[in-house]
């Protein structure tokens, strides 16, 4: 791997030299050198993630912070984060190579590669969360339950993986007719798989915060947001790290167009978020209103207002709609912040749906319920959940691994040179 990186590094030597000459006394400076160091750090983090994953695979739920009352935790949120990203990349990039918008065409191969990488990393995270991941693969085929949203979600994501795998294969062979066909199948699988992921939560009648037709639709909207944001970051960061000014100038219209899409999707998701909150409060629905209030003014106050509102919408939209919204660097900032916020959003979403105990201290009709041991009850009415170190390690490692796999993939397959 190191030799591969060195070769690429030498290829852009002229630009690096030009840049470093201005930095007196530090020949190692420059985006390429920084990039190499970043990759090493990512490699170390990914290795730590694999180690944490190995612990989770061996120990099962004993290594996780989840409980019988709060069975889904950080790893589920991370899985959702990754597969949302994958779906979004597939959908947004299809504008180019499936729907024929010329401007987006150069993105196709890299976008589908990243979609595949994020999907596989998502599966890996999920396998650490499950008690018996291999058994699931067998049972999905041998003992299927078509009434189960998880069965549909798993099966459709399996199909989706095959389709985008084929799409990547044909794109690499420049067989654009077959790539387009695989791309269309990929879109259909992506939308159906992803809405079924929403259904995994949305069909849980016992969890009022999740229940309803909202989530399958909302998940598609937030996937589009992630897709546009990630593509901005891919184009901008590649140009920055390779320090190729000519390409950077050429890519400016592409980044600007992606920025406009990003602004649109931000508005769409903001719209969804606003109505989720309004419906949560206005309905007064037991189980829904408590959790919504926890976000507005309770224990989730900071993560909701600061991450889910301020960083996710206020700052990016201010940048994108203002004068800075035409500058690639600022567009990249406006793309990076929502990605960070979306991760927090996923975590809040998973935790919020479960945080109100079904064995409450104060019941639905104001009756006081005291449960015998071992249920101790919780004065605030909200269940605690703290991710374990293993869970955090897996998440950090998974994000590092996704970036690393993508960078190594683009270089091994020489995607950038080809498309530029």
């Amino acid at each position: 791997m190191a030799s591969e990186l060195d070769v690429v590094g030498a290829g852009g030597g002229a630009a690096a030299v030009e840049r470093s000459s201005s930095t007196v006394g530090d020949s190692e400076a420059g985006p390429r050198a920084i990039g190499r160091r970043v990759l090493w750090v990512l490699g170390v983090l990914a290795a730590l993630g694999v180690a944490a994953g190995a612990v989770a695979w061996k120990e099962g739920h004993h290594a996780l912070g989840t409980t019988a009352e709060m069975p889904w935790g950080l790893l589920i949120a991370t899985y959702v984060f990754f597969v949302v990203s994958s779906t979004g990349l597939c959908l947004v990039s299809s504008l180019g190579h499936v729907f024929g918008v010329k401007l987006f065409e150069p993105l196709a191969t890299r976008a589908i590669l990243l979609a595949l990488v994020t999907l596989l990393v998502g599966f890996a995270v999920m396998s650490a969360e499950l008690e018996h991941p291999v058994l699931l693969l067998r049972m999905v085929l041998l003992s299927p339950n078509p009434a189960s949203p998880i069965w549909w979600m798993g099966t459709l994501y399996g199909l989706y993986m095959v389709f985008i795998g084929a799409e990547l294969f044909f794109l690499l062979r420049h067989d654009h007719r077959r790539a387009r066909a695989a791309g269309i199948l990929g879109i259909v699988a992506a939308v159906s798989a992803h809405s079924n992921l929403g259904a995994v939560f949305g069909l849980s009648h016992a969890r009022p915060y999740w229940y309803g037709p909202f989530l399958p639709v909302y998940f598609i909207a937030s996937a589009l947001l992630c897709g546009a944001a990630l593509l901005v970051l891919v184009v901008y960061l590649e140009d920055w790290f390779t320090n190729d000014r000519k390409l950077r100038a050429e890519n400016e219209p592409l980044v600007a167009a992606l920025g406009k899409l990003l602004a649109l999707f931000l508005f769409v998701v903001l719209f969804f978020t606003a109505w989720k909150i309004i419906a949560g409060v206005a309905g007064g629905h037991h189980g829904k209103v408590e959790v919504t209030m926890a976000m507005l003014s309770g224990p989730l106050f900071l993560s909701f207002w600061f991450f889910e509102v301020f960083l996710a919408f206020v700052v990016p939209l201010t940048i994108l709609l203002g004068a800075r919204g035409r500058r690639p660097g600022w567009i990249a900032v406006a793309a990076a912040l929502p990605m960070l916020a979306v991760f927090v959003m996923r975590y809040n979403f998973v935790v919020a749906g479960q945080m109100l105990s079904l064995k409450p201290v104060v019941g639905a009709r104001d009756e006081l319920v005291r449960y015998g041991p071992p249920f101790k009850g919780n004065p605030a009415g909200f269940l605690p959940y703290t991710p374990s170190l293993v869970e955090v390690g897996i998440v950090v490692g998974a994000i590092a691994a996704a970036v690393l796999l993508f960078v190594v993939g683009t270089r091994t397959l020489k995607l950038r040179q080809e498309e530029a």
Partner: protein, 178 residues
């Protein structure tokens, strides 16, 4: 086909937790987890208060959300209306724990989801579930809903009763006599 059900007489239950202990012994339930538990519910406003006392467990619902949500059919209905988990099919995705409105399920240390089985192994031998067998006040009765001679059938004909979280439309088969 029998439809096995349980009645919990809230007028007789004193939440002594004998059912909890008997269940843990009978089914080797691991530390920190229970298949059966007790609850005290205070209702009304001072000074007009009432306390309900009861023993709770999996309701072996006829429309069980856990069975619907299980991707591998590990959670399933068995003859007699039992809702059971097949450990060898359970992958530990915990969708059933999320789906159950009664929080009756937990993840067993051995890596599968576990819950009250209505002591199906005892019932098949003609015995009552361990909790019903041990109850010192006779608050728990077990039997076939469709058998006019069974205690549960008679009680549901003559007593007022309720089920938990009726709004979930799960059609529970544990009935609470009020």
């Amino acid at each position: 086909m029998a439809r096995y059900a349980m009645t919990v007489d809230q007028r007789q239950c004193v939440t002594c937790n004998a059912c909890v202990i008997a269940c843990k012994n009978e089914n080797a339930v691991p530390p920190g987890a229970v298949r059966c538990w007790t609850a005290q519910v205070e209702q009304g406003r001072y000074p007009y208060l009432a306390v309900e006392t009861r023993s709770e467990r999996c309701n072996h619902c006829e429309n069980a959300p856990c069975v619907a949500s299980c991707p591998t059919r590990a959670s399933h209905y068995e003859d007699g209306g039992f809702v059971e988990v097949a450990p060898e099919k359970c992958v530990g995705c915990k969708a059933c724990i999320i789906a159950c409105p009664y929080e009756a399920r937990y993840l067993h240390p051995d890596g599968y989801v576990d819950k009250c089985s209505f002591c199906v192994h005892r019932v098949r031998e003609g015995k009552d579930p361990a909790c019903a067998a041990v109850c010192p006040t006779g608050a728990l009765a077990f039997g076939d809903l469709d058998d006019p001679r069974s205690a549960v059938h008679r009680q549901l004909q003559t007593r007022r009763f309720k089920v938990l979280r009726e709004e979930e439309d799960t059609r529970p088969k544990v009935f609470f006599l009020t």
